[in-house]
Amino acid sequence: MLRFFLRRAVIAVLVAITVSIIGFSLLRLSGDVAAVLAGESAKPEDIARIAQAYGLDRPLYVQYLDWAWHALRGDLGQSLFTHEPVAGLILDRIGVTAILAVSSLIFALLVAVPLGVLAALRANTWIDRTALTLAVFGQAVPMFWFALILIFVLGVMLRWLPISGSATPAHFVMPTITLGVATMPAFMRLTRTGMIEVMSSDYIRTAWAKGLRPASVVFKHALRNAILPVVSLSAVSLGFLLGGSVIVESIFAVNGIGLLAYNSITRVDFPVVQSILVFLSFCYIALTLVSDVINARLDPRIRL
């Protein structure tokens, strides 16, 4: 177990370093940061002076190492736009984004798992087909469009929910539904396939033969095994949800890191964008690592 974990951890660290290099160089190579800092009417001398002051005239790898060294100690630099420390900007907003991601995940699981179980138990009936059709549409509906439809129906026509902001729990309902619907199909299909497979296995036949109650067979014996891949997908999806919140947060004006990322991109605020990019990647890497370890704990065959 320890060896398995260490091997995965080493890979995770390597990937994390690479991602941080990509995140750093992507935005550094893209344009002249000093020119952006100096403003549009700046003379070449001014740009050169600013480049020197910020250390932007040094070789790129020196800049990277310097940035990484500071980042490791929690100093992600300053926003070019608000001049606040980037770490603070992210920390202030990560809670909102995390709440949104977790609530979307819970919403998706609450709908997808029962639906998947039902579809599997009634495979090839109208229930199954309805569930699969829902999954097809959930996968295909553009998130931003679905959000606008929700705003129109629930916010404008019925006036049930606030359409913008993140002040109260009610503000999170529509963003949660939007993100949840997008993540649901994968969970539904995975639960369904897993259940169909497990329900036809020998030990479930034995459980039936022992005369156990149907509920006990389905939930205690079958679902516990069929749910394994769903657990690991949950961890990975959480990473996706953190990143996918850019679209939803900017539509509903939810004040999380997705909105911060979007605003920073439109303001060409490199330090913020690159920090969020690397931060989200790290979250994803950590969550995949956790999911691998959970899986290996739950299923000893993987450890080999």
């Binding site: 990509i22 553009p142 129109f152 979007y262 989200l280």
Partner: protein, 297 residues
């Protein structure tokens, strides 16, 4: 074995025949494929089909409702937008943007991903470790955020969107071709080619590639749908195709300010995206059942 002589008409279907037979009975593939084919035709013949110039603004004809609304007419069957442009014509030209970006980016991604996947699966060892590592790095990057940043840097031309999307969606091809190649590596026909002294490139192209093509096509058909959705989202956020290009995502964004009074401006392009993506997914699922049935979930 003597029975074979007694049944001279006994016909063992070839894999290709089996495929055609499966395709004929597959409702999703036929329906989805038909809609996709229709969309492609519309995109190709857009100049002949569109009743108006999609860029033509006429402020005296702003916000005309579609034909089913009060005061609508067949002249502007789907109404006009806030600049007085014909929505139907923009929708028809918009199919071009979605499909062009979807297919071209998928092609780039397929080439890149398959190259890496086949190399990793065929050589194994260090090469495979590098490929796996690259896949992991790719998976760790938040696609929408990276795409947004890159578009803001490179500008929202169709060409740059194709390149960006191509470089952000190659991972699944690599995963699939890698695992298929691993299974093929030890098969007789590959070993025979090696024994006959064929070069690695020749083996990859002549022996491996034909056997992974089906899987590549299946992945591509599903990835095209993803790319179309991401392009629409980027354009909606104002960091994709530039106005006044008639991208469907951009049309939703432009209709957004009229959401309360003219919801059709948001509804129509959204339904177009939804329909096209559902059709592509149906066709893609169908292709998987028909071409690579062992890859079914």
């Amino acid at each position: 074995m003597s029975d074979a002589a007694a049944l001279p008409e006994l016909h063992i279907p070839s894999p290709r025949e089996l495929m055609v037979r499966r395709a004929r009975g597959h409702l999703g593939l036929i329906l989805g494929g038909a809609i996709v084919a229709l969309a492609v035709l519309v995109a190709v013949f857009a100049p002949y089909l569109a009743p108006f110039d999609p860029y033509d603004q006429d402020l005296s004809r702003r916000l005309i409702v579609p034909v089913w609304g009060a005061g609508g007419s067949w002249l502007h069957a789907l109404g006009t937008d806030g600049f007085g442009r014909d929505v139907l014509s923009r929708l028809i030209y918009g199919a071009r943007i979605s499909l062009e970006i979807g297919f071209s980016a998928a092609l780039i991604a397929a080439l890149l991903g398959s190259l890496l996947g086949i190399a990793g699966g065929y050589f194994g060892g260090t090469v495979d470790a590098v490929v796996l590592y690259l896949i992991n790095v790719k998976l760790a990057l938040p696609v929408v955020l990276v795409a947004l940043s890159l578009v803001s840097i490179a500008g929202g031309s169709v060409g740059s969107l194709i390149l960006i999307m191509g470089f952000l969606t190659w991972d699944r091809y690599a995963v699939v071709t890698r695992s298929v190649t691993q299974q093929l590596r030890g098969r007789e026909f590959v070993l025979a080619a090696q024994a006959a002294g064929a070069s690695h490139i020749r083996i990859a192209l002549r022996e491996i590639l034909p056997n992974v093509t089906n899987q590549i096509i299946v992945v591509a058909s599903l990835e095209i749908a993803t790319i179309i959705l991401i392009e629409a989202a980027l354009s909606f956020l104002g960091l994709g195709v530039r106005p006044p290009t008639p991208s469907w995502g951009l049309m939703v964004a432009e209709g957004r300010s009229f959401l309360f009074f003219k919801p059709y401006l948001v509804a129509i392009p959204g339904i177009a995206i939804l329909l096209l993506v559902v059709a592509i997914n149906m066709a893609g699922d169908g292709l998987r059942d028909v071409m690579a049935p062992e890859g079914r979930e």
